[in-house]
Structures are given as structure tokens and as C-alpha cells.
């Protein structure tokens, strides 16, 4: 399966560490299937792949957070057995996590030294020394952050900087950066890149994960592409292009459409959103005057990078987050911004959340109980819940959504990921929504189940249901939607009908640089009317 794009290097490069035939099996899914990975000494080793390709899992193995089911790690000739992150840290392997891993209640300086506090001989924390080193590290990064500020009072971008600084306060040999730029401004990215250059000169080996292809081409020395847990390509700087990366990432599955686009144009508008604005707890804007409208029976995809605001948009529509400004109208009726989730469901909106296990299902319960959960009131009679209409609805959903289960009484956890997701969809359909929102609907689901799910969605759309889904998976966006709205930094940057879709346009629109966006409508991009 593995193809080498270019092996121009005459002498084999020195490896800081390498992984051989790493396989990682989680309950139900295999995240990595016999992957080899080389970390070239003093270079930026790019690891790339779509969501769920196994990048983060591989990094967690390298950093000692996860233990591989099989396969070995080596540093030079020596085999490594990393059973916890402390051991990896002692070997100089540091990881900057994708999700922020800071303690909001502690100061910047304290966060930098959590787990590796500087202590004097009586076990006291040397606060003054920690603050001095924190300041020095941040200064080296070109950052003027108050080391005594509490992390909870900092912007997300600054927190990301702190996260990187946390690794750099100690001596690292191998630095793993998992999506480090997802919430950085352009200027901050430049600082990070020059810092990476400095570290390379000091002989630090860097593993770099990102979705931003242009950024990768700019910074990367070697490239490794993963798809569905397999290694599908490696290359070196100079021979690798964006087109090559995209082709490897998406593979042959690009050709296969998940569903036919709607033949007829969309019906009358069902959902109209105007100037929707949502703030986060710290006063930043998650959604910034967002406007769009969706017609009856339309299937619209929201594409964007991490932190673009897709999840936040869906959470706002379902009533989990409260907007601070704007208008939402459903079938022509304005919805008050302060409505609760129950009121929004009543109004006809349903959400299939991103985290199926935590937010979508009651994992201990049966298929039947999960299907009926959102809708119990409808079966309530004077003497309790009426079994007959309940059974009828359960049977109807299993039939309509092709849920593969021996009977409705089996535990939901015994179903495959794809069928579990269908149960979540079914649960929401029983509330009889006008609009179905799906956040990353096929996360952790294989290609076949993905196609089945989209067949189901296609049938629902033909029956008049309006479907909105968010995804950062290009295959899913290109193959499933009638229309794509591209989001970036809480705004919609492009409105692309099916005919105009290409991976290049999606990638380009999702990467509108921060300066242009933050210039408040000062550029053509930000001014483009989404509809």
C-alpha cells in the first residue's frame, strides 16, 4: 500500500526515533494498522491525514499516552517501552496537544511547570525561579504574556502559545505539535514558524500535524500521509505538492459519490439566519454576524477547519449556546434567541451531536430505549407509557433507517459505530423535526457505513427534511451535499453549489487569513455576500 514519492536522499537520514508496525485497536475500531513512522533528526516531520486517519493516536503512542496493541518504538537501536507520558518526557519527547490541556485556575507560570515543578531541597515550589524561566521561555518565543495571569483570563490564541511554551520550558529532543495553529492568528503563526526554525537549528526534531496544507508545504521537510489507519505515502520537501497531498489523503474514494445531488432546486426557505453573533465565556466571538438560509429538502454541508465555528453554530441553533445578537427564523417564524433546547426541539430542530458516545447515546441502554429517549412524553398515558405506539415507532425507525440489530432490546453498545449513529438519527427523527443538524456525522465510521448513512439522509431529504451537517472530511463534503457553506473564524466565507465544488476551492476558502477577516470587512473575501 505504501508508496514513496521521492527517495532522492543519497545517504539515509539520521532518525531521532522511529516506530515500526504500530497497530492500535480500541474497543470496536482499529485506529492504526501496522504503521511505520520515521522522525528525522533536526527536521520538521509532517504527518497528515483526514479526521480519524489515526494521526493523533500515532502521536499519543509516541508520547507514551497510549500503548500500541502491537509494534515497537525505537530511539536509535534502543527499543523504547513507554507506559506513561512521564517516561516519554524524561526521554525528551514533548507533545503539544490538539485540545487545550491547561489548568484554567492556575497562573501561566504554574501551568508551564505542572508535573515538573521546580523544587528546592525541602520540597517547596520555587515560584520565583519558575516565573523567571517562564518569562524567559515566552520571551524566546517573542511573546509578552504576563506570567502571573490566570489562564482562564487569556484568549484561546494565547492559551495555545502557553501550551507550546509548556513543552519548551524543559529540554525537548522530539517536539510533537498536534494542530498547533488551529487558533493562532497569522502573526502568531509566523512567530511559531520562526521558533520552529530556531529549534531545528538546535537539533530538535519536530513532528508537525495540521490541516492547513499550504502551511505544511511551507514548513515541512518530510511528509507522511495516513488514511484510515494505514500509511499511504511518504515524501520529502521539494517533491511534495498540495495536489499530491490531497490525492493521498482522500484516495480513490473521491470518485465515489456518497449520494446524488438533488435534481430539483431547493424548496422555500425553511431556516433563515441573519447576523447571528455568539460570544464565548471570555468575551471573544465564536460566531461573527453569520447569515445564511436553507431551503426545504436541501442538504447543506458546513466545511471548515478546527475552530471555524461549525459546532458552535449548531449548538446555537439547538439552543445550547445563547446568541448575543442576530435573528433565526424557522419556516418564516422568528425564534427568540433565549429559547431553551426543549423549545427549539419543539419548534422543529434536532441535533445529532459530534460526540456520539458522550452526548448522543445512553450507552448502557438498549436500542429501543435510546430511540425513544427524546420523545417519551408522546407515549405518556394516564396509566404510564403506552407500549404499542412505542413499539410501532421503534420498528418503523429500524426499518426506515436500516438499523442492523437482531432486536430492539439489545444493548446499544453491541452495535457498530454506523448503526449507533443511525439510532441517534432515529431518536431525533421521532421528534418530527423540520431541520436535522448533524455534527461530524461519520466520525469513527468506516467508508461502507458512511455511504449507508448518506443513503438514509438522501431518502429523508427527498421526503422533505432539511439536513445541515458539519464536517472537516473533504470526501464527505464533496460527495454528500447539495451546497457547501465554508466557515472560517466564525464567519461564512463561501457559498458553493455542488457544481462548483472542488477540494482546492474548499481548502482555499477555509484558509482565509486571519488578518483579512479581522480587518472587519476591509477585504473582498470578508465582504462576499454568502447568499
Amino acid at each position: 500500500m505504501s508508496r514513496v514519492a521521492n527517495s532522492s536522499a543519497a545517504s539515509p537520514p539520521t532518525l531521532a526515533m522511529h516506530a515500526r508496525r504500530i497497530t492500535k485497536v480500541y474497543q470496536g475500531t482499529t485506529a492504526l494498522k501496522g504503521v511505520d513512522f520515521n522522525v528525522v533528526h533536526g527536521q520538521v516531520n509532517v504527518l497528515i491525514g483526514e479526521n480519524g486517519a489515526g494521526k493523533s493516536t500515532l502521536m499519543k503512542v509516541l508520547a507514551g499516552i497510549e500503548q500500541p496493541t502491537s509494534g515497537q518504538l525505537f530511539r536509535g537501536e534502543e527499543q523504547l517501552h513507554l507506559s506513561n507520558p512521564r517516561q516519554a518526557m524524561a526521554l525528551g519527547i514533548g507533545i503539544v496537544h490538539q485540545e487545550l490541556n491547561l489548568c484554567p485556575n492556575l497562573s501561566v507560570a504554574e501551568n508551564l511547570f505542572v508535573g515538573k515543578e521546580l523544587r528546592n531541597r525541602w520540597g517547596m515550589v520555587r515560584h520565583a525561579e519558575q516565573r523567571r524561566r517562564a518569562r524567559a521561555t515566552l520571551a524566546r518565543m517573542g511573546q509578552a504574556v504576563d506570567v502571573d495571569a490566570l489562564v482562564q483570563d487569556l484568549s484561546i490564541g494565547t492559551r495555545q502559545i502557553i501550551e507550546i511554551a509548556k513543552v519548551l520550558v524543559s529540554d525537548v529532543q522530539v517536539l510533537i505539535l498536534d494542530e498547533p495553529t488551529s487558533s493562532l492568528s497569522d502573526a502568531e503563526v509566523k512567530v511559531l514558524f520562526s521558533l520552529i526554525g530556531d529549534l531545528k537549528r538546535q537539533g530538535v526534531s519536530i513532528i508537525y500535524i495540521s490541516h492547513r496544507l499550504e502551511e505544511l508545504i511551507e514548513i515541512g521537510d518530510t511528509f507522511t500521509v495516513l488514511r484510515d489507519g494505514h500509511l499511504v505515502g511518504t515524501g520529502v520537501k521539494g517533491s511534495v505538492t498540495i495536489a499530491w497531498l490531497v490525492e493521498r489523503m482522500i484516495g480513490s474514494s473521491l470518485a465515489a459519490q456518497l449520494r446524488e445531488g438533488a435534481a430539483t432546486p431547493a424548496g422555500p426557505p425553511v431556516l433563515e439566519v441573519r447576523d447571528l453573533t455568539v460570544a464565548n465565556e471570555r468575551g471573544g466571538l465564536l460566531l461573527d454576524k453569520l447569515s445564511f438560509s436553507v431551503g426545504r429538502g436541501e442538504v447543506v454541508a458546513f466545511y471548515g477547519l478546527m475552530g471555524a465555528g461549525r459546532t458552535e453554530l449548531f449548538e446555537t441553533l439547538i439552543g445550547l449556546r445563547k446568541a448575543i445578537g442576530g435573528h433565526i427564523a424557522l419556516t418564516g417564524v422568528a425564534l427568540p434567541l433565549r429559547q431553551t433546547i426543549a423549545e427549539r426541539i419543539q419548534a422543529g430542530i434536532a441535533l445529532v451531536p459530534e460526540d456520539r458516545q458522550k452526548l448522543g447515546l445512553v450507552t448502557g441502554a438498549s436500542v429501543r430505549d435510546n430511540l425513544l429517549l427524546a420523545n417519551l412524553k408522546r407515549y405518556a398515558r394516564g396509566h404510564g407509557l403506552a407500549p404499542r405506539p412505542m413499539e410501532a415507532d421503534v420498528a418503523r425507525m429500524i426499518e426506515q433507517l436500516h438499523i442492523k440489530t437482531s432486536n430492539a432490546g439489545v444493548a446499544i453498545s453491541s452495535l457498530s459505530g454506523g448503526n449507533q449513529q443511525k439510532v441517534v438519527v432515529g431518536k431525533n427523527l421521532l421528534t418530527e423535526p423540520h431541520i436535522l443538524l448533524l455534527d461530524e456525522p461519520t466520525r469513527g465510521i468506516d467508508i461502507k457505513a458512511r455511504r449507508e448513512l448518506f443513503e438514509v439522509l438522501d431518502g429523508l431529504a427527498k421526503a422533505g427534511l432539511t439536513i445541515l451537517y458539519a464536517s472537516s472530511d473533504l470526501t464527505e463534503i464533496l460527495g454528500g451535499a447539495d451546497r457547501v457553506l465554508v466557515m472560517c473564524q466564525g464567519r461564512i466565507t463561501a457559498n458553493l453549489p455542488r457544481e462548483q465544488l472542488s477540494e482546492a476551492s474548499l481548502v482555499a476558502w477555509s484558509q482565509v487569513t486571519r488578518q483579512e477577516v479581522s480587518a472587519r470587512g476591509g477585504t473582498t473575501l470578508a465582504q462576499q455576500e454568502p447568499l
Binding site: A144, V145, E188, I324
Partner: protein, 364 residues
């Protein structure tokens, strides 16, 4: 580059307070204490008499000692329901060692230890019981609520088993056995201040030091703030958590000894439901039950609020039954106010966002 970020951290006050209501909310424990003192002393002048103040302080000492241990547990996002029962068990074991000695069945004699030895042994017992709580919670993943609830029953039952339910009525000791002096702990005064109050002061100082200055203390805060982040950063989370329960057990044992010494007697019902007082004291002191937020000083203030409240209500002549109702209401009020503070903080953040939006080109 530096200028881009410099806007964010330049917060004015060290408290991070943006408005007057928020400041009042943050200082609520101090305000509540001041209000109570003024209220009670104006209704019952005897409230401020030296004699009464010592009574209040002695009551406060027990609450504070239990609360300080509980603070560590709660800071690490745990809970310890077993502290009252541990106090009771320790009191009974100490009572039995003083009154009956340690029976050595195969020799047919009883060994009597000196008071310092008995105190050290029983404090170690309390610490051990706390560590057992922590071990089950971290290694066997029993939720803290269930584990310490179970331990509440077990320790309370064990306290009765020590004497088969009987009370040890005289803990003065016997000069011939060289085990007198236990009553010193609860009744003596040093520089005209009761020993228990000195112990409270000492424990407070040590606890402040541990929580602020030691690696252990800072890791407790880190775990409460974001347990996963702490774990990924190499903090030995289980070990630190076990440590918090052990501290709580130690404090409970100390409280148990003080109570028994003050009474001059030990019975199996000592300190019943004191775990609730301990939690109340921590919550009144401004700690969050979600962990990561709280101070030893706050807990001390919380103990004074609860102590002043219960003493004052007696002096003012409020009936027993109403005292219980009012105490409960005050605890709920404390949590409601805590939530109120969060909401005020959130809405002021939203206001800021709106204000920022109004200023074009000011986004960081």
C-alpha cells in the same frame, strides 16, 4: 508581535474583578461574618463577652480543622463524607487505649501507653483510613461519594464495636499507669487561649504553606483545575489524590481527639454528621465543589461563619429546630450565591464582547 497579545493580560486588579457587585460577591464570606457579628452583638450583648468568644472559638476550631482537611479533598474535585465517622472512631480508640489499654490476649494483660503515644497512634489511624478511601477511589475507581459514604458507615460501626456501644466516661487517666494528661488537649489554655485554638492556628499555617508553597499543594490545584491536563503533564494524579484523603483523615482524627478530650469522655456517636459541617464550611469559604477553586483562609472564615451562626442563634434564643432549618438555608444560599457569581462573571464577559464588537478593528 508582542504588541498583538499585550492587550489580553493587562488586567487591572489582582482580584480580576470587573464590577462592584462582583467584588461584593467575592467577599461574601467576610461580609456574612461581619453582618452576623454585628447582628448578634446588638441583640445579645453577651455575645461579645470574652467567655462567649472563647466558646465560639472552641466550636470553630473543630469545624475549621475538619474543614481544612476537606478543603484539600474538594480542591482536587473529590468529597469526603467519612470525616465525622473517622473522628468518632478515633475518639473511641483513644478512649479505649486510655481506659482499658491495649489487650494482649495471649499474655492475658493490657498494655497502657503514654498519652503522646496514644495521640500519635490514633492520628496515624485516621490518616490510614483516609488513605484507604483514596486508594479505593483512585485505584479501584470507586466514586468518592460512594467510597466515603461506605466508609462513613464502616467507621461509625467500628466506633461502636470498640466498646460494644458503651461510653468511656473517664479519660482523665490513671497516675499509676502514667497515662494522665489527655484532657489537656481540650481543656487547657496556653497564654489564656485554649489549646484547640492554638492547634487550629498551627494547622491553618501548615495548610496554607502546603497549599501554596509545596509541589503537592500546587498539584492538588492542577488536578482540580483540569485532571486530564495534570495527568498528561506527568502529575502522579492517584498519589496526590490519595494524599488529599489522607490529610482529611488526619484532620478528622485530630478533631476527634479534641472533642473527646473536651468532653472528658468518648462515645460512639461523637461528631455524628460533622462531615456535613465540614463540607458546609468549605463551601461557605468560597470553594467550588468542581475543584480547583478555594483557599484555606476561606475555609477558616467559613468555619467562623458557621460557628458564630450556631452560637449566636442559641444566645438570641432561636429554637433548636429553627437553628437547624436556618443553618441549612445558609448553606444553600452560599451555593446559590456562588452560581450567581458565575453568572455575573459570564454576563460581564458577554457585555465586554458586545463592547468590543462596537469598536471596529479592535479584535485581538
Amino acid at each position: 508581535m508582542a504588541q498583538i497579545l499585550s492587550a489580553a493580560p493587562g488586567k487591572p486588579a489582582s482580584l480580576g474583578v470587573r464590577s462592584l457587585p462582583l467584588l461584593l460577591l467575592k467577599l461574601r464570606a467576610y461580609l456574612a461574618l461581619a453582618v452576623l457579628v454585628v447582628l448578634f452583638s446588638s441583640i445579645a450583648p453577651s455575645f461579645l463577652s470574652a467567655r462567649n468568644l472563647v466558646i465560639v472559638a472552641e466550636q470553630v476550631a473543630v469545624f475549621a480543622i475538619l474543614g481544612i482537611g476537606m478543603t484539600f479533598v474538594i480542591l482536587a474535585a473529590g468529597i469526603d463524607l467519612s470525616v465525622g465517622a473517622i473522628a468518632g472512631l478515633v475518639a473511641m480508640v483513644a478512649g479505649s487505649l486510655i481506659a482499658e489499654g491495649l489487650r494482649l490476649p495471649w499474655l492475658g494483660v493490657s498494655a497502657f501507653g503514654s498519652i503522646p503515644l496514644i495521640c500519635v497512634a490514633t492520628l496515624a489511624l485516621g490518616t490510614l483510613v483516609g488513605a484507604v478511601n483514596g486508594w479505593f477511589i483512585t485505584r479501584l475507581k470507586v466514586t468518592p461519594f460512594i467510597m466515603t459514604l461506605g466508609m462513613l458507615y464502616m467507621a461509625r460501626g467500628a466506633a461502636s464495636l470498640v466498646s460494644n456501644g458503651a461510653t468511656y466516661g473517664n479519660l482523665a487517666g490513671n497516675p499509676e499507669l502514667n497515662n494522665t494528661g489527655f484532657l489537656w488537649l481540650g481543656t487547657a489554655r496556653v497564654l489564656s487561649v485554649p489549646v484547640s485554638i492554638w492547634l487550629m492556628i498551627l494547622l491553618t499555617l501548615v495548610a496554607v504553606y502546603i497549599s501554596r508553597k509545596t509541589v503537592f499543594g500546587r498539584q492538588v490545584f492542577a488536578i482540580g483545575g483540569n485532571e486530564r491536563a495534570a495527568e498528561l503533564s506527568g502529575v502522579r494524579v492517584s498519589r496526590v489524590k490519595i494524599g488529599t484523603y489522607a490529610i482529611s483523615g488526619f484532620c478528622a482524627a485530630l478533631a476527634g481527639l479534641i472533642i473527646a478530650s473536651r468532653l472528658g469522655a468518648a462515645n460512639p456517636a461523637i461528631a455524628t454528621s460533622y462531615e456535613l459541617n465540614a463540607i458546609a464550611v468549605v463551601v461557605l469559604g468560597g470553594a467550588s465543589l468542581f475543584g480547583g477553586v478555594g483557599t484555606i483562609g476561606g475555609t477558616l472564615i467559613g468555619a467562623f461563619v458557621l460557628g458564630v451562626l450556631s452560637n449566636g442563634m442559641v444566645l438570641v434564643g432561636i429554637s433548636d429546630f429553627w437553628q437547624t432549618v436556618i443553618t441549612g438555608a445558609v448553606i444553600i444560599l452560599a451555593v446559590v450565591v456562588d452560581q450567581l457569581q458565575r453568572r455575573v462573571e459570564k454576563s460581564s464577559a458577554e457585555r465586554q464582547a458586545k463592547a468590543q464588537e462596537a469598536l471596529p478593528g479592535q479584535q485581538a
